[in-house]
Amino acid sequence: MNGDSRSFGRPSGRGGGGAGAKGGGAGKDAGGKRYFFRRRKVCKFCADKIDYVDYKDIKLISQFVPERGKILPRRMFGTCAEHQRKLTEAVNRARHIALLPYAAD
């Protein structure tokens, strides 16, 4: 739908899992049982049309930051590069003003 949301689509297989199946649709288990269908993640910010990631909106930000306060890599949530960048900026601002932890104990 929206023009600039093409940049994800690469669900890098994590750990010893199997190669991540592409989100094409024909996810039959023809080759081996290692291949399994994985839903292609879509950037939530693109889907919800959030243009400005506000550092004050902890409710939104905390969906992408685990309780310990770490920023997770893009592949975890499928955010597009642009929004990941904005998210990082917002998280760092929120951390400075003590809305989010730097590192939880």
Partner: protein, 132 residues
């Protein structure tokens, strides 16, 4: 040069009373206005828990000011905030550019959607409410 929009968010000492925090907020507003700035909005979030200790405090009063002014003004306001004992942390962010960008993207998207709808007949998409 046209003025810029900034958000000044600061955390006041939790040991202060509500009226003292209000006074502090008014003081910061005074700093802004003294240097030719204009207050657009003030929000008091009240006492909130901090995510980590700041100067040995676990909570603090959050106050947000949205302000119009110049870079010189911000510099001066920040200097004054720094010497305020009641303020334990502050953050100034310039927002006008980002918001303008977001606005433009929104407009562009609305335009594209209209075009698309025109081409493929009427397609009542899920976000058809922002018309007119």
């Amino acid at each position: 040069m046209s003025d810029r929009t900034y958000e000044i968010l600061f955390i006041a000492d939790p040991n202060l009373g509500e009226p003292e925090v209000d006074a502090l907020a008014a003081q910061v507003q005074g700093f802004v206005e003294k240097d030719g700035g204009k207050l657009q909005k003030m929000e008091k979030w009240g006492k909130k828990r901090l995510a980590y200790d700041v100067r040995r405090h676990r909570e603090g009063y959050y106050v947000l000011l949205v302000v119009e002014g110049t870079g010189v003004m911000v510099k001066e306001v920040e200097r004054r905030i720094k010497v305020q004992d009641g303020i334990i942390r502050y953050l100034t962010v310039r927002v006008d550019e980002e918001l303008r960008k977001a606005e433009r993207r929104k407009a562009k998207r609305a335009l594209g959607e209209e075009k698309r709808r025109g081409r493929t007949g009427s397609q009542p998409a899920r976000d058809a409410e922002v018309q007119q």
